[in-house]
């Protein structure tokens, strides 16, 4: 299992890094929406647990010589032998008869990987549920926008949308001018229409499975950014410059409010 994951992780990393390298060069020409699709394809690929095989695999990696970890009955330190030494010892009549194989290096690494992936996923799922639980009591209903309900919430400092099955937009407490509000809600509504929360889940899962691979971390970061940008693009699509100006102001004001919040409350926010 781990072998296949490693195969997929390393081979995909090559493609990911090339794509990431090309992104700044092509940002002006190719939309974020296109890149969003690309990262999704790559994330899905990272999650599919097998490869098709080619007639002759040009690049072959020789398997690591297996190192077997033994334990004796007596409280001796753990003896580590290579597979060759072990078969030698097994052949010898007077071999270490009181050695019993516990686990191999391969098993160890697989366990490590599984624990890492589980920990990663758990952390994010738990923090998600904790967040939902904490804000539940601090919501004030604000209205609906195209079927998407929105609330004022004292616990957030910028507009967000949460909820897979009953999505809601949470807005910070401060009043926002109506047209700015419209922009914010249009943006979040677009996220909803595209199923971006599920997209984030897929990214998260891929990141969890490949938690050891820095290329995947980089991809996840970039993908999130492209997801937001493509949402912007969708909202301002076909609209004139004036509309875009107002939209960017809404973005700016929202950012500024968060910044002021940091200054006021001294909360360390990035």
């Amino acid at each position: 299992m781990l072998g296949t994951v490693l195969e997929i992780s390393v081979s995909s990393a090559a493609v990911i890094l090339v794509a990431l390298a090309l992104t700044p060069l092509t940002e002006k020409r190719w939309s974020a929406g296109g890149r969003r699709v690309l990262w999704l394809i790559l994330a899905v690929r990272l999650l599919i647990p097998f490869n098709i095989s080619l007639p002759k695999a040009p690049i072959k990696v020789e398997p690591v010589e297996r190192v077997v970890v033994f334990r004796t009955d007596a409280p001796l330190p753990v003896a580590v032998m290579t597979e060759a030494e072990r078969s030698e010892a097994a052949k010898a009549e007077t071999g270490p008869a009181n050695y019993a194989p516990l686990f191999s290096l391969g098993d160890l690494l697989t366990a490590l990987w599984l624990v890492g992936a589980a920990a990663f996923m758990l952390f994010h799922l738990v923090s998600y549920w904790i967040f939902l639980a904490r804000v539940r009591s601090r919501l004030t209903y604000g209205g609906e926008y195209d079927g998407l309900p929105y609330y004022r919430c004292s616990a957030v400092d910028g507009p967000i949308m949460v909820g897979f099955f009953r999505p809601r937009v949470l807005l910070p407490e401060a009043e926002t001018p109506p047209d700015e509000l419209e922009m914010v809600l249009a943006h979040e509504r677009t996220h909803l229409r595209r199923g971006d929360l599920w997209y984030k889940l897929v990214l998260l899962a891929a990141n969890a499975v490949h938690w050891f691979n820095p290329a995947v971390w980089l991809m996840a970061r970039r993908a999130n950014k492209d997801m937001e940008y493509s949402c912007d693009e969708k909202v301002v699509e076909g609209k004139d410059f004036e509309f875009r100006r107002r939209y960017s102001l809404a973005v700016l004001h929202s950012m500024r409010r968060r910044f002021e919040d940091v200054k006021e409350k001294g909360v360390d926010r990035k």
């Binding site: 081979s11 072959k60 398997p63 998600y128 950012m255 968060r258």
Partner: protein, 352 residues
């Protein structure tokens, strides 16, 4: 109240604070941007191919005892094909899977077997198979089973049933025969070394075969004779093949002394020491084939004295090799010599 950091599983409006300039620039850019579909398709294809190309050696390495079990299982199957002096097998393993339940290992491979014999001094693969996919199952107790795909129109569908879907591209697109041939020939060469003979290993196409220039009718007549008299082992071409019989090596040669459809065709069997054990001669003239006096030699194991009351013959044969010429009528070995009007029959010491 203290603001909470939004969880990863949420979307935000103003999270991209750091690169605000880029974001605003993107929003304000009214130029239409392309989706870059070509780029996406190329990247998607690249990532799938990358996974296929980058293979860790692991699952294609088998334990040595399983590897040799595979070889033996394939060789055991070799007797499906026509006779040969030496059988070689070759296999290229595409993948393997081990069942935790019953400890059996399934090996998915492309295989070939080759039967090699000496022809005109070359060691030729004159029997066997080309590249055939096979699934070899090695049970925990070492028992093996080889499964081949079905013939004809069932070939492709049986392959799809036998092989896991991830191996099918490799199976259908690969060109395995060259490597299989290399493996087989290596084994053939080792065999040659073991019997202390030097010869070039090859395929029937490597032989420069020359055939007697006799008419088709004459050729068919000789052929019918060969089949009737169970001496089909002689080559059709002018030259020789070798066979091992009871551990001894014999050379079967076909010779032609003539031109333009007229001449003498000889089929001769000699031992390694050059001693002639059999010889059939045919006078060929156009479409006419006339059997000529032949030689058949029999190894008489012990002295045989026999009184044939019916024909009033007294037969007294010493032990040893004996040429039974046209004069002899019958011996205790029950064979009949050619007297000029009758056809010779099976030789070699077997009772008829």
């Amino acid at each position: 109240m203290k603001k909470m950091r939004p969880p990863r599983l949420s979307t935000a409006f103003s999270e991209s604070g750091k690169s605000a300039k880029k974001r605003l620039g993107n929003i304000l850019d009214t130029r239409a941007k392309r989706v870059g579909m070509a780029f996406i398709i190329v990247a998607a294809a690249a990532v799938v191919l990358a996974g296929a190309v980058f293979a860790l050696g692991g699952e294609k390495h088998l334990a040595p005892e399983i590897e040799s079990a595979v070889g033996e299982a394939l060789l055991a199957d070799g007797d499906r094909y026509a006779d040969a002096e030496f059988w070689a097998e070759a296999h290229i393993i595409l993948g393997s899977a081990k069942s935790r339940a019953n400890g059996e290992t399934k090996i998915y491979a492309v295989t070939s077997v080759g039967g090699y014999s000496f022809m005109n001094g070359m060691f030729i693969k004159n029997s066997g198979s080309g590249a055939i996919p096979a699934v070899i199952t090695v049970a925990a107790d070492g028992d093996t089973d080889v499964e081949y795909p079905k013939d004809g129109s069932y070939y492709a569908s049986s392959l799809r049933e036998m092989f896991p879907v991830t191996l099918l591209p490799a199976l259908f697109m690969g060109d395995y025969y060259p490597e299989l041939e290399v493996q087989e020939r290596e084994q053939a060469r080792e065999y040659l070394k073991s019997i202390g003979r030097e010869a070039e290993v090859g395929n029937p196409g490597d032989l420069d075969r020359v055939f007697p220039d006799i008419s088709a009718a004459a050729s068919n007549a000789v052929d019918a004779y060969r089949k009737d008299n169970a001496v089909d082992v002689y080559p059709y071409f002018i030259g020789n093949t070798e066979r091992l019989e009871d551990g001894k090596r014999y050379i079967y040669a076909t010779l032609w002394d003539g031109a333009d459809g007229v001449g003498k065709l000889t089929l001769r069997k000699t031992g390694e020491d050059g001693f002639t054990w059999e010889e059939y001669n045919f006078a060929i003239d156009g479409d006419s084939v006339v059997p000529m006096p032949s030689v058949e030699v029999v190894e008489i194991p012990m002295r045989m004295i026999y009184d044939d009351p019916l024909e009033g013959r007294h037969i007294d044969l010493e032990a040893g090799r004996r040429v039974l010429d046209a004069e002899d009528a019958e011996t205790v070995l029950g064979f009949r010599a050619y007297s000029g009007t009758e056809k010779p029959t099976v030789v070699g010491g077997e009772a008829e």
